[in-house]
């Protein structure tokens, strides 16, 4: 019977081999056999594996701090953790409008996203997009020097895919504006308005930072979305990990939030709320990229607000009771009419069509 220390060493070796690459099915079978041989093997491996999985979060710390190679000992701790800062991060629930018992009528319909397989189903209106491209200014040796600068915007109702010079991809939502500056040391995107989804090309030496309203969202190689409403932000992470930093308030450093895949962060003046959910939940929140809005037990007021991001003819909630109805389903974001017609058929809502807006009253 091997000692517990020996078992732990063996487990570590297995894990290192597995992480080392060239891991074959045969080796996996060998590992499985080793694990099955004794619970002691299993718990030892499980423990190391869990710790190793946690260590993936180091990437988030690495983003933005590592100029080149391994950071000096202790140094990054100071830059990342201000122990004086209040512990205002990570609260379980997002600030959704108060839920009421009024969830009776949910409408669920529409075949699920046929466009998903055919890539971007929506026709992107490129015309409305303004691109001031390629100001290639070289101050060669100067690392901070901007080597590429561009700005992009979309009109109401349009979406736009933008390929950035570093290989990253940005998808602009309706009525949105970003300013991109790529330098040798940083990829800097300012979200001036609206929402954008980023599929970031991996480059550990050049962090990708999205700046909006006094906050920075930092990633190395990952997929996430940032939405801005005034100074408030919503960050949705669908892959990898990003770091959310805030400017000091009144000279006090604000805590940094680390957002794993599946999380949604709401940042406002009162602080940062983080909801950690499944990646699927997170994906649902950025389905606008495919031209769809997806609701699950969503208050009608929130659903209407979503539609209003994409359409000039606004949906207005006529009374509080209507706003509290819960709805679900997948909808084309450009088709407000279909949405309200279905509402009228399935929920206790009366629709009033005005030339400039659509008003929903409860019946």
């Amino acid at each position: 019977m091997a000692s517990s220390r020996q078992i732990e060493r063996d487990a570590a070796q297995w894990l290192a081999r597995r992480e080392g690459g060239d891991w074959s099915a045969l080796e996996q079978a060998e590992l499985d056999a080793w694990l099955a041989a004794s619970t002691a093997h299993r718990v030892a491996f499980l423990r190391l594996d869990a710790a190793w999985a946690q260590s993936d979060r180091l990437k988030a710390l690495g983003a933005g701090t590592a100029s080149d190679g391994v950071p000096a000992r202790g140094q990054w701790l100071h830059s990342n953790f201000d122990l004086q800062a209040p512990r205002a991060e990570s609260m379980p629930e997002p600030p959704t409008p108060a839920a009421t018992g009024h969830d009776a009528a949910a409408l669920v319909f529409a075949p699920r996203r046929s466009a998903a397989r055919g890539g971007r189903g929506l026709r992107y209106a490129g015309v409305a997009m303004l691109a001031l491209l390629g100001v290639a200014s070289f101050w060669g040796w100067q690392r901070q020097a901007v080597v590429e600068q561009a700005s992009y915007r979309t009109a109401m109702g349009d979406l736009s895919d933008v390929a950035l010079a570093d290989g990253s991809q940005a998808t602009l939502s309706s009525d949105s504006r970003i300013e991109v500056a790529l330098s040798r040391s940083e990829r800097h995107v300012e979200l001036q308005q609206g929402e954008a989804f980023f599929d970031v090309a991996k480059d550990a030496r050049r962090p990708f930072a999205v700046v909006a309203g006094g906050r920075r969202v930092i990633a190395v190689g990952t997929r996430f979305s940032v939405r801005r409403e005034g100074a408030d932000l919503r960050v949705v992470v669908t892959e990898g990990t990003v770091r959310l930093e805030s400017e000091p308030v009144g000279g006090r450093r604000q805590p940094t939030s680390v957002l794993p895949a599946g999380s949604t962060a709401f940042a406002s003046r009162s602080g940062v709320l983080v909801r950690i959910g499944s990646v699927e939940d997170a994906e649902r929140q950025v389905d606008w990229r495919r031209g769809y809005l997806v609701f699950r037990d969503t208050p009608l007021s929130a659903a209407a607000a979503e539609f209003n991001r994409y359409n000039a003819r606004k949906i207005v909630i006529g009374d509080a009771a209507a706003g509290e109805l819960r709805v679900g389903g997948n909808f084309r974001l450009s088709n407000t009419e279909v949405f309200v017609r279905l509402l009228e058929q399935v929920t206790p809502v009366r629709v009033e069509h005005r030339p400039d807006r659509i008003v929903l009253h409860s019946r």
């Binding site: 000692s3 517990s4 220390r5 078992i7 732990e8 060493r9 570590a12 070796q13 894990l15 290192a16 081999r17 992480e19 080392g20 690459g21 499985d32 619970t39 002691a40 299993r42 718990v43 030892a44 499980l46 423990r47 190391l48 869990a50 710790a51 190793w52 946690q54 260590s55 993936d56 979060r57 180091l58 990437k59 988030a60 710390l61 690495g62 590592a66 190679g69 391994v70 950071p71 000992r73 202790g74 990054w76 701790l77 990342n80 953790f81 512990r87 991060e89 990570s90 991996k202 550990a204 805590p255 940094t256 939030s257 680390v258 794993p260 983080v274």
Partner: protein, 194 residues
């Protein structure tokens, strides 16, 4: 293979490792047994949970530790009984000694960073390049001018030490002077306590 059970174990049991080790250390006179005791507790908990998940994982974990220590005493594995404490008191003590604390994302990260910083130099480099910079084993070997085999060895060591520091406890509470021959990592552990 039971991924759900494994995830439960990591989430509900491993997070209490620091407290568990603390309690074992307090009630068990032989430091050399601690590693083995800890593993045995985990084995028992894991096997029991495979049949039915305990509703109160933390209490179950400490009850298991208590039973294990009692069993070992009865089986006469321990020569000197005197210094061994009153296990029954454990019930009360658990919450007193280690009040429930769930780590927030930021604290987890801080703990990881500290664990990482305690790694010996070479090991720390290897872990960083593999984990953060995502270089392949081969690339790491080339970059550091060492063999792939050495990279793998350093990785194995890194994984082990990170687990030890991350789950096992705070660096500041170095109240157990481990015997050098018992664990040859001690030398590395020391150099980072400054």
């Amino acid at each position: 293979m039971n991924a759900a059970l494994d995830a439960w174990f990591a989430r509900e049991i491993l997070v209490h490792e620091e407290a568990l080790v603390h309690v074992l250390r307090r009630y068990w006179p032989h430091r050399d047994d601690l590693h083995d005791l800890r593993q045995e507790v985990y084995v028992r908990v894991y096997e029991a949970a495979g049949k039915a998940l305990p509703t109160q994982p933390k209490s179950f974990l400490f009850a298991t530790a208590r039973h294990l220590m009692t069993d070992r005493l009865r089986r006469g594995k321990v020569v000197s009984i005197e210094p061994v404490g009153d296990f029954e008191a454990l019930n009360v003590l658990i919450d007193e000694v280690c009040p429930e604390r769930r780590l927030g994302a930021r604290q987890i990260l801080k703990r990881l960073a500290e664990a990482f910083d305690r790694l010996p130099d070479r090991c720390r480099e290897v872990v960083w390049l593999r984990r953060v910079d995502e270089l392949s084993q081969k690339e790491v070997a080339e970059r550091l001018g060492i063999s792939e085999k050495t990279v793998e060895k350093q990785m194995a060591k890194g994984v082990r030490l990170i687990a030890e520091y991350f789950y096992g406890g705070e660096p500041s509470r170095a109240d157990l002077p481990r015997k050098p021959q018992a664990d040859k990592e001690t030398e590395h552990g020391k150099q980072q306590t400054d």
